[in-house]
Structures are given as structure tokens and as C-alpha cells.
């Protein structure tokens, strides 16, 4: 069990800056995020899109913002627990016992939820029968590509993941690539490569088709795909892969006894504390009168929640407000030499 002054859920911009604020005032913290990388929505949804309303940064992309926030955390030693989702939160006297889906356990007086709109999960196929074959014949990500060797694989999607895997798997498998329209949003070079493989019959391409149904007893046997004009085709296939990006779901947060209003958590505007003592919510996931879903609001909220954490993490010490320009102790923490 890891003991820490504060546990941050979510490694997006708000979570990262909140970590910075905690470390600056001398508290330690750990960060958990369900994505396999740091940056939250900035990195997953709009890494290349420019943002124009970060104070003193006229223009930067989601990826640049993330890189700079990570750089700002460089003086500090912060442990990230990526690809992990916090599942359980239980009260234990003045502390919280926290457990992730991978079994990591934390013991902390403070939990700061900086979870955006929830954790990112893969978007799934709509036909209900697909659930039965999930992680057996139907996958939304690939961990071990050797299972597809010599098999027939039907890949759905029009982005880079779908195209990259279609190209890669076409070396050792029979590949069907199915997409709902003629255009692909993957990189041009990848689209060109895929088209070459279609010409040389290494990939069977079906455009304007979507998955209609799947069938099989123990294991998947075939799928039915339907064209825009309602015509259907039956394809024998061993495996199905779906690459429709990720969706955000509130997930287990809903079960922690917090006041939730339309997928957001109600907080006060002094500490950004929820109805549970020692649990705070900051960034897009929190709500209060006048809330703006801006990155800059998340920074402010994180700074205040960090100060509130001090009281619970150091009950016998008094928190003193200091500026980074003048405080010796802050400069020490930052490793700045005078």
C-alpha cells in the first residue's frame, strides 16, 4: 500500500498543474490515469489542435501544452500510474483507501479528482451479440498480434489505428478492412499504402459498409455487413477488430458517494471539496455556480484544492502562503540555485 499526502486521479492539464501546486507547498502526491500516456483530453482528443486561451501562451497545441506541463514538473519526483483506473474508494478514519483495477492500493487523506469527463474507454460495436465475443474474437486494441497469424481478421474503422493494423496484419493474415465511407482520415502515406495493398489483393476493402450482426457458437464464425444502400454481405472471419477511438465514461466515480449532477461533481469554491471530506474535484469534472470548462479554470481550482490538502496532510503544521519569486523553501523544492 502506497502512503501519500494526496492522490490525483487524472493526468490531464489540471491534474498535472495540481501536482505542481502540491509539490510546491511541500506535499507529495501520486497520479493515476486510465490512459497509457500523460495529457488527458489534450493528448487524446486534440494533440494537434491549437489552443488560444492559456494565459501568457498566445497559441499552443494540446501536445505542446502537455509537454510544457511535464517540463514544469521536472524538478519534482512524481510517480505516475498509467493505464490504471481507480475503482474503489473507502473511508478509513481520517484517510481514504483507494484501489485501482490493477490492484495498486493507496492510503491518503486527500483525493483530488481531475478526471475530465471520466476515464477513456474504447468505443464499441453497436450489435449486442458483440459483447459475448469481446476479448475472445472481438478486440478494441491489440496486445499480442501473433494470435492473428494465419487467420481471417475483419478490421473496422477509418483512422490511423485501423489502417496501420490492416497494413501490419496483411503480412500474415487475411484482412478485410471495412469503413463507413470512402474517405479515410488516416495519414495520406498510410492511406496510399493501404490502397496499394488493396490493388495487390492483400487487403479486401469494403467501404460504405458497417457491421450489422455477428454470429458463431463458441467462437466467432462470421459477420454480416451492410452497405448504405441496405445490401448486405456475409464474411467468414475468425477475428474482428474495431478502432473507433475512445469515449469518456464517468465509470466507478459514480459509486463513491459524491454529489453528482449531469456527470459533474458538485464542489464548494473555497477548497473545491466535494460532499466528502478530503475528496476534491477540479477541472472539467467539477461544477459550481459560474463554472467555466476552461483549462485556466482547472489551474485555479487545482491551486486552491492543493492548499486545502495541506490541512489534512499536515494537521499539526500551519500553512504559510509564499511566492515562488521570494521563498527560499520553494526554491529549494524547485532545486533553484541562487
Amino acid at each position: 500500500m502506497i502512503k501519500t499526502d494526496a492522490l490525483i486521479i487524472g493526468a490531464g492539464p489540471t491534474g498535472l498543474f495540481t501536482a505542481h501546486q502540491l509539490k510546491l507547498i511541500g506535499l507529495n502526491c501520486e497520479i493515476v490515469d486510465n490512459l497509457d500516456k500523460i495529457g488527458g483530453q489534450c493528448i487524446e482528443l486534440y494533440p494537434d489542435k491549437p489552443i488560444y486561451d492559456i494565459p501568457a501562451v498566445p497559441e499552443c497545441t494540446g501536445e505542446e501544452l502537455t509537454k510544457n506541463l511535464i517540463k514544469q514538473l521536472k524538478p519534482f519526483d512524481i510517480r505516475f500510474h498509467l493505464s490504471e483506473r481507480v475503482d474503489e474508494v473507502k473511508k478509513d478514519n481520517d484517510n481514504w483507501q483507494v484501489k485501482t483495477n490493477k490492484g495498486t492500493e493507496f492510503y491518503t487523506p486527500n483525493i483530488i479528482i481531475a478526471g475530465g469527463v471520466g476515464s477513456f474507454e474504447p468505443r464499441k460495436f453497436s450489435p449486442k451479440e458483440c459483447e459475448k465475443f469481446e476479448n475472445k474474437s472481438i478486440f478494441y486494441s491489440i496486445k499480442d498480434k501473433t494470435v492473428f497469424k494465419g487467420k481471417t481478421v475483419s478490421i473496422f474503422g477509418g483512422g490511423d489505428s485501423a489502417l496501420d493494423w490492416a497494413i501490419e496484419l496483411s503480412k500474415d493474415s487475411k484482412v478485410n478492412l471495412i469503413h463507413r465511407r470512402d474517405e479515410f482520415r488516416g495519414a495520406q502515406a498510410t492511406v496510399d499504402k493501404m490502397n496499394e495493398l488493396v490493388k495487390s489483393n492483400k487487403i479486401n476493402l469494403f467501404t460504405k459498409y458497417q457491421l450489422k450482426s455477428v454470429s458463431g457458437k463458441e467462437s466467432l464464425e462470421s459477420i454480416e455487413i451492410q452497405h448504405d444502400n441496405k445490401e448486405t454481405k456475409n464474411l467468414k472471419t475468425d477475428h474482428v477488430l474495431g478502432f473507433f477511438g475512445l469515449i469518456m465514461q464517468l465509470g466507478p466515480i459514480a459509486n463513491w458517494g459524491l454529489n453528482i449532477d449531469k456527470k459533474t461533481i458538485t464542489v464548494d469554491t473555497e477548497k473545491f471539496e466535494t460532499n466528502q471530506k478530503g475528496i476534491y474535484a477540479v477541472g472539467d469534472i467539477c461544477t459550481y455556480p459560474g463554472k467555466l470548462k476552461l483549462i485556466l479554470s482547472g489551474f485555479h481550482e487545482g491551486a486552491l484544492a492543493a492548499r486545502a490538502c495541506f490541512k489534512l496532510a499536515r494537521p499539526n503544521e500551519k500553512y504559510r502562503f509564499e511566492f515562488t519569486t521570494s521563498s527560499k523553501s520553494i526554491k529549494n523544492r524547485l532545486g533553484v540555485k541562487e
Binding site: 474503422g157 483512422g159 474517405e183 458497417q210 469515449i247
Partner: protein
Amino acid sequence: MPKITYIEHQGKSHTIDVSNGLSVMEGAVQNNIPGIDADCGGSMACATCHVYVKEEWFNKLPKKEDGEEDMLDMAFEPKKNSRLSCQIMVTDDLDGLIVNLPEKQV
């Protein structure tokens, strides 16, 4: 004010006044119409404000911008007449617009 009608997947219909300048998504969210999630808040990054627009109205709407079609690839059961409601801005010309909501957004 233009009237916009939202029809839930099960057929329940909601007709509300939406101010010019708001998006069809914002009209739904501000009036608590179930079935439009709008997780990303209108930045065309999530496809959870997906609606179907009948042909007669679909052709009257301003064309999709680049990026909307890409996001619709990820929507739940996209069709030819799919749109992201955050990208449809309400004007007097849209008075009477009817949008159908999909079975679910994710």
C-alpha cells in the same frame, strides 16, 4: 425564436425555443433534453451530440466542416444523414428543424 424539435429514439418529442446563435446541441443541453451528451462541450472532439436530420432539412443545413465527418466515424450507428448537433447553429432559417436522436451516444 426558432423552434427546434428533438425526437428521442423511443419517439418522445420535445419542441423548444432556441435562441439564434446557440447550437442545436446547446439548445438540448440547456433544456435538459435526454439523449445528447456533448461530453467535449462543443469542440467537435467526441461525437456524443450525434443526431439524424431528415433529408428535407439535411440539405438546407450549412455543409459539414472538415473534421465533423471524421468525428462521425466514431459515432454510435452513423448514417448518411448524421450530424453533430454542436456544429448546427440555430438561425431563423432553421425554425421548425426536427432532429432525431440515436439510440445512444456511446
